[in-house]
Symmetry: D2
Subunit: 354 residues, 4 copies
């Protein structure tokens, strides 16, 4: 029972089935000139209710770094939360693909940037002054690295600041489905209608094997994107296998149902754990991640039981991160909570008679 | 019936089955800390009869560019055939990953570099002179872009020149299986025993969906490779899906049998076509590609029949490239040859009674 | 009367005279194969009491960026004060020359990093973890951007932390002479004896026209430096003109005397201004820069008088930066203080009878 | 008596005098906000009879690499003669500043590209195809590396091809003055009127200490140039010292007179040497360089006499390169020719009585 990350999961059977079908379908022209890719492009336009340039890649890091490179020149500054994946967890991929742009942290509560803080930072950023990197883009994580989400209003407020200063707005949507599932709004409302220019649309964490899409809502951003992708080594020859994954992922509303499930599992964990005396959430649980300080001994006890998860932050604080996924078994959540209560010395909750 | 490329093929059923099995296997730690990856690493060591550092990626361009970046500094020169994939078909990926190294063409017949020509070029390359990019690596394509192969002796001769000048030796083995199938030697003989330091070992063109391995035979090259791969966006979170493909690919000798089949189909095409009056091979057929000048009208006739393939070189020459794959149907080859004979006004060959 | 920066100054007559002499000296081999360059190299070895690799360039940004590139790979992290010139005022030059390394801020009072803070940051920096940029170097500014200096003991403490974690230590010494003049120690004590691996040794701000030297105290760092410099466009063909400047700069102890003069002028400004009611230094004055909050109206009055200087930080605070140079006229300092007192409504100080 | 290069020369006294004057002129705002820089900008507009964006740097490599970076994206191809300085002698500077663009050789006689050859190469360059670097710019050397010059008509023909394919046109004018002196046309006719978009205008080889200008005739190219220059470390703080050099260089027509002198010295060498039996020019002498095959033993004899020059090409051919400069002494040329005749066993020419 592994709550380390949503990338410890396997893949959704319907997506694997689509891969198998594509594998057996006979010859298809490479590099995206195939029916699967065209269908995915059409499907994204439908889901997002707008024309959109779609570039499939296999990893979230590729999606983010390529998207930022389309938005920021080598002497650009990209504003993001200090804890953003692009800043912390991609070993400098945005720097590689932009040619050396600088990621500038804009701190904020619960993993989110506030529009007012962005405005304050941009006010003294040295735009137009040759000595300084030039403000070029904002990158938000949706859901954030703290498991929280931006409302469309919050995104729009940030987009307004960005636009006023001439910056593009990127969203790292490795967990975009989880955010949407919480927001209950349309994909369009959470993206381009709120001012997003480029979206890294993730599928891998929500059931695909390895499939992400860069969605560009500004045609100008798409102009050179194919060259960027190719020279990054991210153009698949047998593109049908990225497209088949993404097609199956987007077919119907299962992707949102899967994200809702993951989120529900996270909420169940949060509710169960916060009932323990002394337990405390570090952040609101708005997607599929729970950051929680556990009572003394509980984390060690759970680990000894064989549950897997990562400690978080300063080890002395006893905080942990728990991540759920599309395929998290409710029985595993129940088992985890039972064990946690046991280690905390708390009786099991009374089950009301039916 | 499509002879455009070996990347128009789908994927081998055994590889798809392995993917499906991995997808349903429950949680596994990400980024390569899984059983599939470890098994693949062990399997490569076994196949190549040596300790080897293995880095899985999804595309040949990624494999090549990352390998060259491990061999050449930003001010390095990489010597390759002018027609090499790394020089012509990767939109500058080696330049991106090396930070700007220069690819220097060393021309040679049939897509191959001769050791003597390499020696001649290196003699005046300006090693140690600060004004010039510094000789750093040689990159061979095995099989070459002309469908030919380097014998172990030829590779060793080039490696000797490279070593004498302090250069590393990289092999782009997108079609390494096809080369091996022709050479009949062991993987070790065709690589590190012949002096190869880094090998891009391809599986995609021979039946995988998207799986390649960078094999590093010098431990020093591997030291920073994980960072290079990650910041290139080429580290898969669900690494098991690259490893499962490669594991199934390498299981038993089917990968070599598949390559032998592809090569045999190419030879059958070559034999059938060169029997046409006026037809002429541009290069010996030593792997799964045929470069052939067809009699006037034949290419157009075949195209009108619905056969797909690419013209090659100067259109006035009437040359075409035909590529076969692991799954090329002998009946399609026969149909192609029948049609070619028909367009060339040649009677079908007499079938000898059994 | 301009206190904007030490780069508003002209150049020292002895340095100009040396340039003129070099210009008239007839043919000399280019790119450093000349007597001036060799003499400078020998002089640096003498002044620093050690063998040292010397690379002349024309700007401080070039010196810093090239030095950092020798210390940090593209996936490296360089730790510096958030206000460091390399981080704020070089438009991403370190990122360009390193190929995308990340500058990570380690905050500290008065523009300086404390060893303990560096240790704390490095403890969680993710060394060896492929997802994170890898700790590679520390860069100190000596004197700092706040006009303060590191004692040899402070530098050594930082060097010890750096070395313990495998990092190199760079010093941006655009104002190294000013720091030395304050410290009173030897160049060796302030650099390699305190653990410095690479020093950007500035001359431009202290009287040269445009001349800086990268001093590398570790031979391994020098190995590829010539290529880095050349491909950065920083190798002068008529190198004698950089070397002649630096030679004249280092001839005798005038460079230190000039720095002492600049520092004394800064102290005089600081003493005069802090005597005004409500004035307050933002940082100790340890080199040739004064950061001071002036009483209301004083800055505006001085500006109206024609004095030139830059406001500093939040305009509402009324803080200004004053920079002195090798050629600052004491009479200008006196005039500035007289005017400041006048605008502050303070009587001129009584001059004691001799 | 040194004919190795025009960069073995010192500097012209008038330029040194201007530097000295600027050094003593008291405070001036840095980074180009000074009177010298403004005067140079105005002077260039006057000389080139058009509005032009002017960016001063200290080296030709910087000028070229920055100019090419303004013209070509990281996935761009820059077409140049294989022997071009940007391709051979800058250790990959164009690759660094463009972020990895590819320099593609277009061979041609006497160091020059022919428009028809450029057209032929561009016809199959793969414009718009994502696998290939994208044609972006042409770079000509004026005068060329073979000491020849492009007529305005030749430049215009190349510009027409470039424009038809959407490419920008750069000229490496490290010896632009020498070319102009031969052409006898106006600077405008040799540059923007012939279709040049960006010109590296050299002064160093013709009498400056270290001063070059990037001249951009298309305003769009200038938009981000200041950031490129700064992050390359090529923005001088005491910019007056670049501007003072260039100002003195351009003052009156002395720069052209100096170039005419250098060219005349080269022609004198060529005429004298080609009179030797068996001597042969490798290229027409149209600027300040002579490439000549000398009779057996002559080069060795001259070297033994203490004359300095570089052998050229294959040592067995006995070819040498001789370069003259603004300050070449006619007596040195005469001495060189006398010695050459002596070593060739040829009597001194009869001097006609006046």
């Amino acid at each position: 029972m592994n709550f380390c990350s949503d990338n410890v999961a396997g893949a959704a059977p319907r997506i694997v089935a689509a891969l198998a079908e594509a594998a057996a379908a006979g010859p298809a022209m490479p590099y995206g000139a195939d029916a699967w890719t065209q269908a995915v492009e059409a499907r994204f336009a439908e889901i997002f209710e707008t024309e959109v340039a779609v570039f499939l890649v296999a990893t979230g890091t590729a999606a983010n770094a390529l998207a930022l490179a389309a938005l920021a020149p080598a002497w650009g500054a990209v504003y993001c939360h200090p804890a953003a994946h692009v800043n912390v967890d991609e070993c400098g991929a945005p720097e590689l693909f932009t040619g050396g742009a600088k990621l500038v942290g804009v701190d904020g509560a619960d993993g989110k940037i506030a529009a007012a803080d962005l405005e304050r930072v941009l006010a003294t950023a040295g735009a137009g002054v040759q000595h300084h990197v030039q403000p070029a883009a904002v990158s938000l994580s949706q859901a954030s690295e703290s498991g929280t989400v931006y409302t469309p209003e919050e995104t729009a407020a940030i987009a307004a600041v960005a636009r006023a200063h001439g910056l593009g707005l990127h969203v790292d949507g490795a967990r975009f489905a989880n955010a949407l599932a919480t927001l209950g709004c349309s994909p369009a409302e959470a993206s381009w209608r709120a001012g997003v220019d480029a979206l890294s649309f993730g599928a891998t964490k929500n059931g695909a094997l390895a499939a992400e899409a860069v969605l560009l809502f500004q045609p100008a951003l798409a102009r050179d994107f194919a060259y960027r992708r190719k020279r990054g080594g991210h153009l698949f020859s047998k593109m049908r296998f990225l497209a088949a994954q993404m097609g199956a992922y987007l077919d119907g509303d299962q992707w949102l149902a899967d994200a809702r499930h993951a989120n529900a599992m996270a909420r169940a964990l949060a509710e169960g754990l916060t009932a323990l005396p002394g337990a405390r959430l570090l952040h609101p649980v708005q997607a599929n991640e729970v950051f929680v300080t556990l009572p003394p001994g509980v984390a060690d006890g759970l680990t000894a039981d064989g549950f897997r998860f990562y400690p978080w932050g300063n080890p002395a604080d006893g905080a942990v991160r728990l991540v759920t996924a599309f395929d998290t078994d409710p029985a595993h959540v129940a088992a985890f909570l039972d064990a946690a209560r046991r280690h905390a010395g708390v009786p099991a909750p009374t089950v009301r008679a039916g």
